[in-house]
Amino acid sequence: MSTAVVTGVGVIAPSGIGADFWPAVRDGRRALGRLGRYQPNPYPVVVAGEVTGFEPEGRVDPRIAVQTDRFTHFALAATDLALHDAALDPAAVPDYRFGVVTASYSGGVEFGQREIQALWRSGPEHVGPYQSIAWFYAASSGQLSIKHGLRGPSTVLVADEAGGLDVFATARDELARGARAMLAGGAEAPFCPYSMCGQLGIGLLSAGEDPDTAYLPYTAEAAGFAPGEGGAVLVVEDADAAAARGAPARAVVAGHGATFTGIGRFPDSAEGLARAARQALADAGCRPEEVDVVFLDAIADPRADQAEAQALRSLFGDRAVPVTAPKTGYGRCYAGAAPLDVATAVLAIEHGAVPPTPGVTGCRFDLDLVTGAARPLDVRTALVLARGLHGSNSALVLRRPETS
């Protein structure tokens, strides 16, 4: 059985791009603000995490930029960062052995809105041909495969937001089947009126107007989440292949589990999340006592938060395990949220520090929630939890590589 290791991390997040991300989350800096991506904004969601300062110019080939949505621009840019971080030239990987798996929740909605407007305002002949590929959930995986010549397994998971964790299981499975390297992750760009109207129907977005208080999971003030854009792409390699080229293993993708407990049935997600976590731990050959930190899902719905706290209690009993939700600082980035948490977990393992949950004080559950400042901690095993807004529950175990 091969071992899957993370060798590169590429982040495009409201908190920061590339190397700017870790200091921002470590220090609990907040990147939520007034949603400005579209004007006017007549919708009852005004606080969001936007990737400010990101333009495709200089990051995306102009030919590709005109035919792709912002969510693909993010994925392309995050991948360049990840490959650079991994010092991996895709051409050096044996042909058909390098693949890509991304998760998508919204697809290319902003591009799609532009073309839908052209359709209804001016007529079908005004719809550009690139609409046929730009909106599609698989657009990012496809463009990454084309750009980097990846002829290995290439796919997209449209599996609710928790699909952002499942991609790492898919990557690991493909490595076990013979791939040498996989790009795994996801990015979202959900800020346009068309997309926002779809998101509002979920009834879980925060209507708060103050960036400091709009997204406060686990507190008495919890009233929904602030949405975010961006995400992360990681390079996941076969450990032997990474070692052979002298690339340091940053973390081991050790175990994964997933369950489904139904749309809008958050009380049931307590058991669903706990089962997913147990599966992931069993898959990793790891006991709950070995978990050093948990990266939380943090929906900020009172029922959902309570279910998550119950899941943790059933896993760990009375043991106080440090838990954190750095995403309260930059928003919940849909299928990009879990890849960002995985990236953060890798960085936490490397830096020996658990970043805080920005803005949250007065946790109403019996949790050892890291707040305020980063907590120095020797992180050997991290558990990452993710739920989808439509009933998916996933868990991933990351472990620090054994040093020989």
Binding site: P62, R63, V66, Q67, E125, H126, G128, P129, Y130, S132
Partner: protein, 82 residues
């Protein structure tokens, strides 16, 4: 109907529709195809659609990426002449 775009205007239109920065000199070269310029079939379709919308080019005009922009310019000249 519409007006014939100049080579410089066509170059600008192609750049806008396809993201490929082309010059009017490249458009004048009789051997350089759309494919050579890095313009794919969807990009060319977008260029033709724009010409049909904004410059009165007949809807039946079709080209593929092995054609040259010079051929397109010739078609545009005929279109407006007829």
């Amino acid at each position: 109907m519409g007006t014939t775009p100049s080579p410089a205007e066509l170059a600008g239109l192609i750049s806008r529709c396809t993201g490929v920065a082309v010059t009017d000199r490249q458009l004048a070269d009789p051997t350089t195809t759309f494919s050579d310029l890095g313009i794919d079939s969807l990009g060319l379709m977008g260029v033709l659609a724009e010409l049909k919308r904004s410059h009165g080019v007949h809807r039946d005009v079709e080209m593929n990426t092995e054609h040259t922009p010079r051929e397109l310019l010739a078609v545009l000249g005929q279109e407006v002449a007829r």
